[in-house]
Amino acid sequence: MNKYWLMIALWCPMLVWSQRVAFINPGKSDETYWVTASQSMQLAAESLNMDLEVRYAQREHLRSFDIARELIARPAASRPEYVIFSNDHAVSPELLRLFEPSGIKCFLAYSKPTLHERAQTGGPRQKYKNWIGSLEPKAQDAGYLTAKALIGKGRSMKLHAPDGRLHMVAIAGDRSTNSSILRNAGMRQAVKEAGDVVLEQEVYGDWTRDKAAEQAQWLYERYPLARLVWAGNDLMAFGAMQTLEQRHGVVGKTVLFSGVNTSDEALQDLRIGRLSALAGGHFITGAWALVMIYDHHHGKDFANEGLELELPMFALFTPALADRFQQVFNSKTQKIDFRKYSKALNPRVQRYAFGFEQLLK
């Protein structure tokens, strides 16, 4: 009897009080990826009965600090208990420093401090006690999966140059963020494994369509043999496509493109063959972070699995998978049950299984 009462006593708070969690979204409030990320987190929060507040930094890293200061300045009753942010634009050292005295617990999602930044921040729960941990998608998967699919497509379309090799150019995101670096690394890994591919040059399009379009102009001139264009995200792929078309090339025929992200346009281009390869799903990292915070809050610390988790989250989309994805995430009625991934709620779960494809099953 006592045992049951004890269980009730333990469960009640969980059932009654919801955790206040804030997410400092580094992207723009109209940027598909980051909006999708927020939406997925919102779904998870609802599923886990958490109180989620999303604030957009609008890709201005200084605004991240303003948001942090505003949260810290709030009265304790309205102040979030947890805050989730990404290390986009290397904001994590300053944000960790700001939040540490406030008692708000920090969780880094999507990207964590680089090795260089670790000198300032240390590891979770070390210098900054309130930094409880981090979760990153295994970003190189995105690069690897898309590059490998792109190469396969090129082979199948026999786009080899006279030298018998496939010539590829890459338009990466940026030089600093971990996710960009890792995606590029995955791409290079795939090229390396292919053996018949020449990676002519990597350029950095800063995730933007226009810059990628302009760079593509140079690249087409500089490397007329290149038939494969790897892009770090969907927007840059669109820009390169645009330039090709301006040069009277045929997208998906004379030159093949790959991208990362799950925007509607990308999914559509995948379906019609303009995009030869598309990977995505890592936007869900924030939702998974909420699951981990939920567990941490409810006494099921993820420390046993690691404070800095890097888990495979990308899925290489096929047209069918694209349809399924849109079906799931665009539905207003269909809920995703994130509770089944919680260790606190599912004592049988020993290790987190945060694969995107699993989520769509």
Binding site: V203, K211, Q215, Q217, L219, R222
Partner: protein, 659 residues
């Protein structure tokens, strides 16, 4: 200042300054041109280097941006470069044809376009080309800034150098030269007293200006000396001329006087000569009675004495004029002497029925040291004149002591008369030699006119003076004053002090006192001296005869020789006369030489000294002393008074030969 009337003046210093300025301007223009060219080249080089530097600095970044295809970075770099004012246009042209540019595209064709190739970081691919074009306005602004600074600096430097040169030329050259020119232009005879002084800093070295100034100073001193010499010469010549004129006038006057005097002298000489010659001729005639013979002889004697007096006066005047008059200094009872002189003329005055008297207004018997002979001569002259020029009335002689100063005294003697007197305008002529108040041939009175002149000369020699007060028709008073030494009754110095003129008088040899005629002309009685031999050495036969006849009168045998050499030979050959009468002036050997030779022979031959009495036509103490010095024992002056001759010879004749 320089004379600007002849030609327009242009200062050499100003000309130099003008040339220096002109040269400086030309050099400045050349320097500025060179500087501008140099600045242009420097500017070009600077901008080329700048373009190269800017390019080289930016090319690596551009290569990265090009390689990485970072258009934004390229634009940022272009913007950054284009902000430099030196760059007018910058362009990046990629190998793939993209062109990014900033600035004025029209400058692209400029020669100053600087192009740099942009290689890929790996160096194996040309990614593009960077073109930099200099901003021309900045280029020229920079050039003009450099040129202006250089021009300003050159102008300031040139101006400073020119001003320094001007200052130095003005200070070191123009001012000294102007001073020298001013000095030279004022080198007139009136302005030769001040030397040229240049206001220059003292220096250890001498330069041309100093040499020039020194030369002008030497010239000035030479001119001054020359002019002073000329002035002196002119003054001297003028004085000499004036002296010559005066002397000439005097000479003319004197010549006139001498001519008149010579006429007078000639007359005075001829008158007694005429008497002597006439009476002598009458004596030669047979039948002359004893009374006539005595009368004629007396006339001859009087005429001879007149001649002697005249010759004595002439000698006196001659000695006074030659300043060779030697005075005696003897004790003299001047009261007595005054009385003697007056007495001497008593007969003469009586013959003209004139009253003559004398007064000594001092102590009777008072002795004074003076020259009694000259004093007697002076008084006699005045008294003689007074009697001569007084027809009636009186002649008075007054002697008095007018001043005494210790042992010295001034005596005044005056002779007053009631004669014809002298007109006041003729008084000045009275004491002039060779002049008479009435010098015409028809003058009323005889006489040479030498008397007063002799008195004046003697009075002055005796430390006194002469004077006359006269009124025509009333009478005259002639006076003279002499300086004497007062003696006591014993003839010694009344006081120790000696009269100044006494010291000049040479002591007179004692034999003279015996030989010279005593006052009053006391005659020596004839005395037979037996058969003693006297030697007469005389070249004139008449004088031989006179002397031998005179000696024979006292019984002295004599022989005569005609010159001194004959006498010396006779004596040295054994002739032993008891006395030798030796004339002074003789042919072959004169009396002095003969006396010396005889005395020398006597000493050498240890012979007895033969008395030698000199006979001289000269006069004066010097001749007398000269004779005595040669070894003579006494001197007699011609014409020899027979009595004096006998008196002089007798003492040396102790064994006369009977005539």
């Amino acid at each position: 200042m320089p004379n600007r009337n002849l030609r327009s003046f242009r200062s050499i210093v100003q000309a130099l300054i003008g040339r220096i300025f002109l040269l400086a301007m030309v050099l400045l223009m050349i320097a500025l041109g060179l500087q501008a060219w140099w600045a242009q080249e420097q500017n070009k080089q600077h901008f080329q280097e700048l373009m190269q530097e800017v390019g080289e600095t930016n090319v690596p970044m551009m290569a990265l941006a090009l390689w990485d295809i970072e258009p934004a970075a390229l634009r940022a770099q272009l913007d950054f470069m284009a902000k430099r004012p030196e760059i007018g246009y910058v362009q990046i042209k990629s190998a793939t044809g993209q062109v990014y540019a900033q600035g004025d595209a029209q400058l692209l064709g400029s020669q100053t376009a600087h192009r740099l190739a942009i290689q890929s970081p790996q160096g194996n691919l040309q990614l593009g080309e960077l073109t930099l074009v200099v901003n021309p306005s900045y280029f020229w602004r920079n050039f003009f800034s450099m040129a202006w600074q250089a021009a300003f600096g050159y102008c300031v430097l040139t101006a400073v150098i020119c001003l320094l040169i001007v200052f130095m030329l003005k200070h070191d050259l123009q001012r000294p030269l102007e001073s020298i020119a001013q000095f030279a232009s004022e080198l007139t005879s009136e302005k030769l007293t001040h030397s040229l002084q240049l206001e220059r800093r003292p220096s250890a070295h001498e330069d041309e200006i100093d040499v020039l100034a020194r030369a002008f100073n030497q010239l000035q001193r030479s001119l001054r000396r020359h002019i002073e010499d000329l002035n002196g010469l002119v003054i001297e010549r003028t004085a000499q001329q004036e002296k010559l004129m005066v002397a000439n006038q005097k000479s003319q006057v004197a010549n006139l006087a001498k001519s008149q005097f010579l006429a007078t002298i000639s007359h005075e000489l001829r008158t007694p000569l005429n008497g002597i010659l006439g009476m002598a001729q009458l004596l030669k005639h047979a039948g002359v009675t004893d009374q006539q013979r005595v009368e004629y002889a007396q006339i001859i004697l009087d005429s001879g004495k007149s001649l002697e007096t005249l010759i004595s006066d002439l000698l006196d005047i001659s000695q006074i004029e030659a300043n060779k008059l030697v005075l005696r200094s003897e004790p003299c009872d001047v009261g007595n002497l005054t009385h003697d002189v007056t007495t001497l003329f008593y007969q003469t005055a009586q013959s003209k029925k004139l009253n003559i008297d004398s007064v000594w207004q001092g102590a009777m018997g008072q002795l004074f040291r003076t020259d009694p002979i000259r004093l007697r001569q002076m008084l006699s002259n005045l008294v003689s004149n007074a009697i001569k020029f007084t027809e009636q009335g009186f002649v008075r002689v007054v002697g008095q002591e007018v001043e005494r100063n210790g042992a010295e005294a001034i005596l005044e003697f005056s002779v007053s008369d009631s004669g014809i007197g002298i007109a006041p305008d003729k008084l000045d002529l009275l004491f002039k030699r060779f002049s008479q108040v009435d010098a015409s041939h028809s003058r009323s009175f005889e006489g040479t006119g030498l008397g007063l002149s002799i008195i004046e000369g003697l009075a002055k020699r005796m430390g006194g003076s002469v004077g006359v007060e006269s009124q025509a028709g009333v009478g005259s008073r002639f006076w003279f004053r002499i300086q004497v030494v007062v003696l006591d009754a014993a003839g010694k110095l009344w006081h120790d002090a000696a009269a100044p003129w006494v010291a000049q008088v040479a002591p007179v040899a004692s034999p003279e006192h015996h030989l010279m005629p005593a006052s009053g002309g006391t005659s020596v009685p004839a005395k037979s001296v037996g058969r003693s031999l006297a030697l007469v050495v005389e070249d004139n036969p008449i004088n031989q005869k006179v002397v031998q006849n005179s000696l024979s009168r006292i019984g002295l045998q004599s022989m005569s020789l005609t010159n001194g050499l004959e006498a010396v030979n006779a004596v040295t050959q054994g002739l032993q006369p008891q006395v030798i009468l030796m004339d002074m002036q003789m042919p072959v050997m004169n009396g002095l030489q003969a006396t010396l030779a005889i005395r020398a022979w006597e000493v050498k031959a240890h012979r007895k000294r033969i008395p030698i009495i000199g006979l001289t036509a000269g006069s004066g103490v010097e001749i007398e002393q000269e004779c005595l010095d040669s070894g003579m024992d006494a001197v007699l002056f011609k014409p020899v008074d027979l009595d004096l001759l006998q008196t002089a010879v007798l003492p040396y004749v102790d064994d006369p030969v009977q005539a």
